[in-house]
Amino acid sequence: MSEQAVVRINDLTVAYGEKPVLWDVDLELPEGKLIAIIGPNGAGKSTLIKATLDLIPRAAGSVEIFGRPYSEQRHLVGYVPQRGSVDWDFPTNALDVVMMGTYGQIGWFKRPGKREREWASHCLEQVGMADYANRQISQLSGGQQQRVFLARALAQNAKLYFMDEPFVGVDAMTERAIVDLLRNLRAQGKTVVVVHHDLDSAPEYFDWLVLLNVRLIAAGSFAETFTPENLTRTYGGRMQLLNQASVATEVTR
């Protein structure tokens, strides 16, 4: 592979109780690509991200980010959790949430100041949310909340981003804004790993594909991996979403 691997996952296994959620995953992700992680519900997509970021314990395996353990590379990594993972009735506004992206670099005991505030405004602007800076977060629509989370990740100024289901439950305008943002990040040479649900839009939005169903099915460029055979192996008999002709045209495009 000509590109440097930004993420290298070796023999990763994760289990909740007795049940393995990820089984023996070996994966290398290239730099500067927009990467989609795709698979059915319960395939371990979010788990893959969380285990990579040390958010949940690994039963086995190791992860390297830019050649070193995550704990040494945190400053290079941005994270967008699922929108539903927090209580949006928390008493705060959009700008304040975005400023949380800078906390890791402020240091203990210190408070974010004017510079952090301006930086956070700048990040909100990039997701088209500048007008909502002072809005109480429960008063935002689902799509706007998602964009606030993206702006918070931008505020981390990372080289590698992990986004957990950013396209779920958002309006068309937000979807557009996220796609523009992803391309913008790619143009800056950054790598973005996105848990994604929608097979139809995947080839248009992303360069690189990881097909997952507890085990790794395939990983690589769309031309190599987005085949009816791989999709059937990923989704099993339930794969009636796409007819094979449309897959073929996408692949030859």
Binding site: L55, V86, D87, F90, T92, N93, Y103, R111
Partner: protein, 315 residues
Amino acid sequence: MIQLLYDLVFNYTLRNVALGSALLGIVSGVLGCFAVLRRQGLLGDALAHAALPGICIAFLLTGSKSPIVLLIGAGIASWLGTLLILRIVNDTRISEDSALGVVLSVFFGFGIMLLTFIAKRNDANQAGLDKFLFGQAAALVASDVALMALLGGVALLIVVLLYKEFKLLTFDPGFALSLGYNTRQLSVLLTSLIVVAVVIGLQTVGVVLMAAMLIGPAVAARQWTNRFSTMIILAGVFGALSGLSGALLSVTQTRIPTGPMVILSMTAITFISIIFAPNRGIFWDWLRRKRHGKNYLQKAMNEWDTQRAAKEGRL
């Protein structure tokens, strides 16, 4: 009124009771905000109940009824209860509310058993431990208040220093973890501070009513503001107000004991806040719905009537 102010400054008992209750109100109000927003309102209840066996064991071991000794025992038992709850939640599939319930009842039951055991020993010194059940603010002396101020001051100082970290932990612990914060340690620290608030409250409102001191001010404060920092300050103010007014009412006006009176004052503040606070108050909601709902429905029905009449007229 002037007499009341005069008493507040110069009457030894009244001053201690009022100061102690107000102090408790501030500390539990501030820390209660974190507990409520983390959806751990019951945690304070469990921790308070868990303190009871600690008080009894401290007395059995030392034979002393000095508040410092008993409160240290309370703090240790309550803290052990905390660790047990965190352990249960992390290591088993038991949900947090069940873990809280189990620890609360087991510790409290054990505490009541010890209380009975101590009462039956016919020890002349044993009287008065049961005051920790419902509190006995009237028995507060100056050194108790000083101890409360010291503990509370340290707890509040830590909240001020770690404000940013605690706020992030409360809003989005997963993100905090990804930034490299040790969220488990932060969680234990924050819960330990709630233990401190509980210990401060044991002499005044007692183990049974303590949870209300943590939950009430925070719930009331949330109604008036959409800013976290304002909410914390407001909760402290509401806590102090209810402590003060409860103490004054119980000492001067009625024969109601202080602890329950403080809780009743606070309930009044919370009740008013839930109903009448601008924006979030349910009264305004109800008013809006009543006015609009009725209008819309009436309008729709009127329109339907005229349409139907027109149709029938044509036919």
